[in-house]
């Protein structure tokens, strides 16, 4: 369960590809050599690694239409592990994670006979390598995912000392915590008989506060056609931050659903959860759910780490989408007639933090005149992007319905943005909204249901919110791409 080498490579546009950080683990290499015998392939020098990774990711020779080593159709490109071709020999399995211009890669040790090539799941080091890379990704990129160059540089500079703790000799001991997540008010463990958890550097001192934040995201694909079923689904996560004294304090968070609420599915929990009821795990999205499934309350007893963590996540299948839309385009000579209706479902609270509809137009010349009216909110036109932004604001009108109507002329001579999917009348509206204090599944964390077994009575803060994610309404007069095979069958 070790990795032989680790790399962080960046390939910013216009700059040459660079190794930003690398680390090799010679004792692991020593084992790799003796395990693989004649099949041993040594780790190439850092000088050549970036190019090898880029070839594998299909990022070399961007100007050439076809390169065998990169574009061959028989190359297996469907695994988290890739092969690097080093002087005619094959180095495998190299795990790669990319985020923006950063490429993180590591080479897990193959603890098995090298021939025939063992299946990836038979190698213990692979999941450890994946976990390490994910941890590094969070550490380097932070929650935003796109750190400023100087922030990234300073985080890279701390990597050597970080690895000294989490992976000193190539054997991962822990995953790095996300940047900036380690809290301040921590004192060393008091000693005594209770062993300090390895995932908790010390104990909290000071006022006891427990915050539980429930975020639900809703996705939707609406086609407005009888032949094609509309889709929507919900997934949620419970983020916790517990500032509670003690080495191993006990906290229990309970999620409840309203009566007749549809059950929470595919529940995944944080490793700090101490025990789980079997009934919590049984509901699964790949099963037919017949309504007889367990529907709460969902109890999660745990002993919290110091930092903010994701206690659990779930998916849910709710009966209606929060906003139902219809989108119709008609092409007439060089203009498009456009008609949009958005309806807010009655069960959804009419109080948004923000709500916007984006209408992009692809593969056309730039917009000329735009004669479009909206029944509510404002319209912003971005002609250079061929984009209409309909800002609905905090509230739908009383009737819970808003419309947009008009014509757009594409009379410009310059070609606008392109998209391979949206040809002809294939077009979409993408919705962005956030509703505080609401979940679609009805799931909630009652402030009083949070139990903390400790001497000081903590302040308990619970919040919930609904946020849109990939919420599309397709033009019903065009061909929309199939987005889920599940319902298509």
């Amino acid at each position: 369960m070790s990795i032989r080498a680790l790399w962080v490579v960046s390939h910013e546009k216009g700059e040459s590809v660079k190794v930003r950080f690398s680390r090799r683990f010679p004792t692991v290499e020593f084992r790799a050599k003796s395990l693989a015998g004649a099949q041993y392939v040594s780790v190439p020098e850092d000088r050549v690694v970036p190019q090898l990774l880029l070839t594998e990711l299909g990022l070399v020779d961007a100007d050439k239409p076809y390169v065998d080593a990169r574009d061959d159709c028989a190359r297996p490109h469907r695994s988290p592990a890739v092969e690097l071709c080093v002087n005619g020999r094959t180095l495998w399995p190299v795990l790669i994670v990319t985020q923006g211009a950063l490429i993180l890669a590591c080479l897990p040790l193959v603890e098995a006979a090298p021939e025939p090539r063992p299946p990836l799941p038979s190698l213990a080091s692979v999941s450890q390598g994946l976990a390490l890379l994910s941890g590094l990704q969070d550490f380097l990129c932070g929650p935003g995912g796109k750190p400023e160059p100087d922030v990234l540089a300073s985080r890279l500079a701390t990597l050597p000392s970080l690895l000294l703790q989490v992976c000193p000799l190539g054997r991962p001991l822990d995953t790095p915590s996300p940047a900036g997540s380690v809290p301040v008010a921590v004192s060393p463990s008091p000693g005594g008989a209770q062993k300090q958890p390895a995932w908790k550097a010390g104990v909290h001192r000071g006022r006891a506060v427990v915050s539980v934040a429930l975020t639900e995201k809703v996705r939707s694909m609406q086609y407005g056609k009888s032949s094609r079923q509309d889709l929507w689904d919900v997934f949620g996560m419970v983020m916790c931050k517990c500032e509670v004294e003690g080495v191993l304090p006990n906290v229990t968070v309970t999620l409840t659903l309203p009566p007749n609420g549809s059950p929470l599915l595919d529940i995944l929990v944080h490793p700090c959860v101490t025990s789980l009821d079997a009934s919590i795990l049984t509901a699964c999205s790949v099963d037919e759910n017949d309504g007889s499934a367990f529907s709460g309350p969902y109890k999660f007893p745990f002993s919290p780490p110091l930092e903010l963590f994701r206690l659990c996540s779930y998916t849910s299948q709710v009966p209606v989408p929060p906003i139902l839309g219809s989108y119709q385009l008609k092409a007439e000579e060089n203009h498009l007639k456009i008609n949009v209706v958005l309806k807010l479902h009655e069960s959804v609270k009419n109080s948004f933090e923000y709500c916007e509809a984006h209408l992009p137009f692809f593969n056309k010349n730039l917009m000329g005149s735009v004669e479009v009216k909206v029944s509510s909110g404002q319209l912003e036109v971005s002609k250079e992007k061929n984009l209409l932004v309909w800002v609905l604001g905090q509230k739908f009108p009383k009737a819970r319905e808003a419309t947009l109507e008009g014509t757009i002329h594409f009379s410009g001579t310059v070609a606008g943005p392109t998209d391979p999917l949206c040809t002809g009348l294939t077009a979409y509206i993408k919705l962005y909204f956030r509703v505080p204090d609401l979940t679609l599944s009805g799931c909630c964390v009652d402030q009083h249901s949070v139990q903390v077994y400790s001497s000081a009575k903590p302040r308990i803060v619970t919040t919930r919110e609904l946020v849109s994610s990939e919420y599309y309404i397709w033009n019903s007069t065009g061909d929309a791409p199939v987005s889920s095979g599940h319902t298509a069958l």
Partner: protein, 934 residues
């Protein structure tokens, strides 16, 4: 620039490419500099950590042998003990570096004293549980020591097997976060100890129990079993202890480890679980139900490594731990996690891989190949159907999985599912047709390939696919290489030519029907590529191709423009046409075409080739023609190949004119053993012994004003066959030996030509002349180009030739007739100069060793004979001088003292001292030696 800045540049340069960095220096001197700087009290911790990182990452490059490793570890240890307590991070780094050096240079495996001492020190460090003695600030050091011990146990399994009781106690005592390190160390030791015991024939209860109660030294001998253990894997026989042993104590240890596993980080938890699973698998007295209490927690985990460990448990224990219900449940979890919106893409891809290698309780086959678990039904897998919104890896992975699902499915479901997948492929191709970046194109062709690999037998669908691909090609001829690649791969992997021939026929038709306006120069080059590929298929008639080519050449200005590339591409099609089996049917047309080119094309080379093809076509039977055109090494004698080397296709020419590479070593250089007359190349004018002695040194030094004086070392080798060479190479001719240096310490070595080497004759002698800039040991990469009897040319690598330090020694470059007194005088002068520090790089040093009288005389005779300046055996004193080109001297004054032999060393280049030292150590190895620096 400060010294620190200099290191800030040098270290990254080394780490980026050790081989390039060491081309300008040697590893010995770089290592010496590193150690020197580490000992510098003024250097700050940050710089020292940077310096240590070199040894942390590349110990074997800097310490190529066990002895160097041991020395380096000793040096580092002394740096370690001189580092103040507060420099915690530096101390941890040095600790890791020492461990790396000791393991990687086999100090551990060969049980050196250093390794033993180091283990003791590490073990002592971890005794301080709960930081009782050294305080919290030293905790990181203890953590590092635990991990070092764990690595040493991994690389030398069983090392800790007699210390388990002590380790157990430490683990119990520790209550800080470090208990994880102790726990992991103990568990690994326990597992390895049991594993070693399984190799024993009969195991008594007492022996079994003594594992847990061990409290002795390190078990050095236990690692004869091999360097590292492979983890226990169900594909191989599991080593087991005999049944009936009393496992009560072990059981309670296991339970407590499992109970506390919750306190470990997920990464360490997964490692712990795997070790414990292996223990239970090896000990029949332990039941897998031990893990039952952990299962529910593991099933719900969001951590990939814990889920993976659970699958390992499943694979190992199957139905003795997992009921059929559990199995069904676990598989459903896997399918749902493989598409969970909150997990990352690489994890989801991994879970899909896990589905295809799911350890079923009742597997139908256990080949280790991808196969679908019986329980994965179309309904279960429906959530994994690919869509155009997936990223390319996810999409291809899902497509592959679903293809397997529908291959196995019942009829009704099968049709619906395959139709969906087909529609999906069509949707992808539509995107490609719309515009499609390169990535989309490549992904779509990969999808088509996966689909065909499973369903090429479904005629209706594969016909539709051909129509779609041809239709796309008519608009986007840039897809030509993708289409050709697809055809080639399908033929290779399926061995099925029906589909690919249909596609090629379709493409040919498509090109024929293209309106002439679309046949621009740019498009034509793609079409010619396709037609060239089409011409390879014997089942496709080629008449239309020839008409088209003729038509294009006649009706356009191609011939007048006479571009070589276009002409060559046309001829490439013709070349394949010449080989076509039904050439008879189009004989006249092809002849017309070739003749037209040979007359009208405005490029002489193309004309010539066309004429050549024309004469081949009109004068040879088809069998002969294909014989002539056939490529490849089986083509017979050299003359025939020279015809085929004139193929029009540029790649063809290249491949036929290429110098082939031999797979193995054919030749090698063997050092001529007898001590040669190593002499400097030029002889100097005679030096009069009567000349004033003071001037002698000056006169000696003046010799070096003559360019090239004394600058060359000649090494003699025999050029022989390597052991395992093919009989093809029994006689090789016109050999050209080419030398590449691995560093920049020598001038380029010129090529050497040898007329022939026959296996049954005396090997020819080769004199390699080296001109050092720095007289360091080096390695020469040697390659040879030669011809075999059949006229083919070969390029072959020879084994590297290493030039050791003593091989560069030359005697004092004085004329042969120079008197002994004269030599001694020069020796003394140089010595004096060196001792007084002139030139700047001079240094003196001392080396001592013990030996008997006899062996000392022998030693001097064997090693120093040619270099002796004075030989006063009676007095027990000798003077030896090695001259090293271009102008270095190493002087030895050997005196036999009462209890040891003292070798005083003087040199005008201190950088040579490490080599001198290791050379002396080498030749005096059989005596006990002690070296001291002066």
């Amino acid at each position: 620039m400060t010294i620190a800045d200099l290191w800030d540049q040098r270290i990254p340069a080394f780490l980026l490419s050790p081989s390039q960095f060491l081309a300008t220096t040697t590893s010995e001197s770089f290592l010496a500099e590193l150690i020197h700087e580490l000992r510098n009290d003024k250097a700050n911790d940050q710089l020292k950590i940077l310096l240590v990182s070199v040894l942390l990452e590349h110990p074997t490059i800097l310490c190529p042998s066990t002895s160097v490793g041991e020395e380096t570890a000793l040096e580092l240890l002394s740096v370690y003990s001189h580092t103040p307590q507060k420099s915690i991070s530096l101390k941890c780094n040095i600790m890791l570096a020492i461990t790396n050096v000791i393991i990687c240079t086999s100090c551990l495996a060969t049980h050196t004293k250093m390794a033993e001492d180091w283990l003791d020190l590490l073990f002592q460090t971890i005794q301080d549980t709960n930081d009782y003695r050294c305080g919290l600030s030293q905790q990181p050091l203890r953590a590092t020591a635990c991990d070092c011990l764990r690595e040493m146990e991994t690389c030398s399994p069983g090392l800790l097997s007699q210390k388990l009781e002590a380790l157990y106690l430490l683990k119990q005592q520790e209550t800080t976060v470090l208990h994880q390190s102790y726990c992991m160390l103990y568990t690994l030791g326990l597992k390895n100890a049991i594993r070693i015991l399984t190799n024993q024939k009969d195991v008594t209860d007492l022996e079994f129990k003594s594992i847990l109660g061990g409290n002795e030294g390190f078990a050095w001998k236990s690692n004869q079993l091999g360097l590292t253990f492979l983890p226990i894997n169900m594909m191989v026989q599991v080593p087991r202890l005999p049944p009936g042993l009393d496992c009560k104590e072990l059981k309670s240890v296991m339970s407590s480890l499992l109970e506390e596993s919750y306190l470990l980080t997920p990464t360490s938890q997964s490692a712990l679980l795997r070790e414990l699973v292996e223990v239970v698998a090896m000990v029949p007295g332990l039941s897998p139900t031990l893990f039952k209490s952990q299962l529910l927690r593991l099933f719900g985990t969001a951590e990939v490594e814990l889920m993976h460990a659970t699958l390992f448990m499943k694979e190992t224990f199957t139905d003795s731990l997992f009921t059929a219900e559990d199995e069904n449940f676990l598989l459903k979890r896997l399918v749902s996690t493989a598409q969970h919106p909150l997990l990352r893409i690489p994890e989801k891809l991994f879970y899909m891989d896990c589905i295809l290698h799911f350890p079923e309780n009742r597997p139908i086959s256990s080949s280790g190949e991808e196969s679908l678990p019986v329980l994965v039904t179309p309904r279960l897998a429906a959530s994994l159907l690919p869509t155009v919104f997936n990223d390319s890896a996810t999409m291809l992975c899902r497509l592959n999985l679903l293809c397997l699902v529908y291959l196995e499915a019942d009829e009704g479901e099968e049709d619906k599912g395959i139709d969906y997948l087909f529609d999906h492929i069509m949707a992808l191709l539509k995107i490609v047709d719309g515009d499609g970046s390169r990535e989309v194109v490549v992904t779509s062709f990969r999808a088509v390939y996966i689909f065909l690999m499973h369903f090429s037998g479904m005629e209706e669908l594969s016909e539709k696919l051909i129509d779609k691909l041809c239709d796309m090609y008519s608009r986007q001829c840039r897809l030509a290489p993708n289409l050709i690649g697809l055809v080639d791969r399908i033929q290779e992997c399926l061995g099925d030519h029906v589909w690919s021939v249909k596609l090629l026929r379709g493409l040919q038709k498509c090109i024929m029907e293209m309106p002439p306006l679309q046949l621009t120069i740019h498009n034509l080059s793609w079409h010619l590529k396709v037609l060239k590929r089409v011409a390879k298929e014997g089942q496709i008639t080629q008449r239309n191709t020839i008409y088209l080519l003729l038509n294009v050449l006649i009706n356009s200005n191609l011939c007048e423009r006479g571009k070589w590339q276009v002409g060559n591409a046309v001829l490439a099609v013709c070349r394949n046409l010449l080989e076509h089996p039904s050439i008879d049917q189009v004989f006249i047309e092809l002849a017309d075409l070739l003749q037209y080119i040979s007359v009208h094309y405005d490029d002489t080379d193309i004309k010539d080739h066309a004429r050549f093809y024309y004469s081949l076509l009109t004068n040879l039977s088809w069998e002969k023609l294909t014989g002539v055109l056939a490529k490849g090494p089986d083509g017979g004698r050299a003359k025939e190949r020279s015809y085929s080397a004139t193929m029009a296709e540029s790649e063809g020419i290249a491949s036929n004119l290429t110098v082939r590479k031999t797979e193995r070593h054919v030749l090698r250089l063997v050092k001529v053993q007898e001590k040669s007359l190593q002499s400097s190349s030029e002889s100097s004018e005679s030096l009069e012994a009567t000349e004033e002695t003071k001037k002698l040194l000056e006169v000696y030094q003046e010799q070096f004003q003559v360019p090239g004086f004394g600058s060359e070392v000649t090494l003699r080798y025999n050029l022989t066959h390597a052991n395992e060479a093919d009989t093809l190479f029994n006689r090789v001719f016109t050999i050209c030996l080419h030398f590449e240096l691995k560093d920049l310490n020598y001038a380029k070595v010129s090529d050497i030509h040898v007329p022939c080497v026959f296996r049954d004759r005396k090997p020819p002698e080769v004199n390699v002349k080296l001109r050092p800039f720095q007289p360091y040991p080096t390695t020469l990469c040697v390659s040879a180009i030669f011809t075999t009897q059949d006229g083919r040319s070969w390029h072959s690598q020879l084994p590297d030739v290493s030039v050791s330090f003593p091989e560069i020694f030359l005697p004092l470059p004085l004329p042969l007739n120079a008197s002994r007194a004269c030599k001694e005088e020069v020796f003394d002068r140089i010595w004096e100069a060196a001792a007084s520090g002139s030139p700047d790089k001079s240094a003196i040093s001392l080396f001592c060793f013990k030996t008997g009288d006899e062996s000392l005389a022998d030693l001097i005779k064997t090693h120093f004979q040619g270099y002796l300046i004075t030989d006063e055996k009676s007095k027990g004193s000798w003077k030896v001088l090695f001259f090293l080109p271009p102008m270095c001297h190493v002087l030895l004054m050997i005196t036999q003292a009462e209890d040891a032999v003292q070798v005083s060393i003087a040199s005008d280049n201190w950088e040579l001292l490490p080599f001198v030292n290791s050379y002396l150590q080498n030749i005096t190895d059989h005596c006990s030696t002690t070296g001291t620096d002066g």
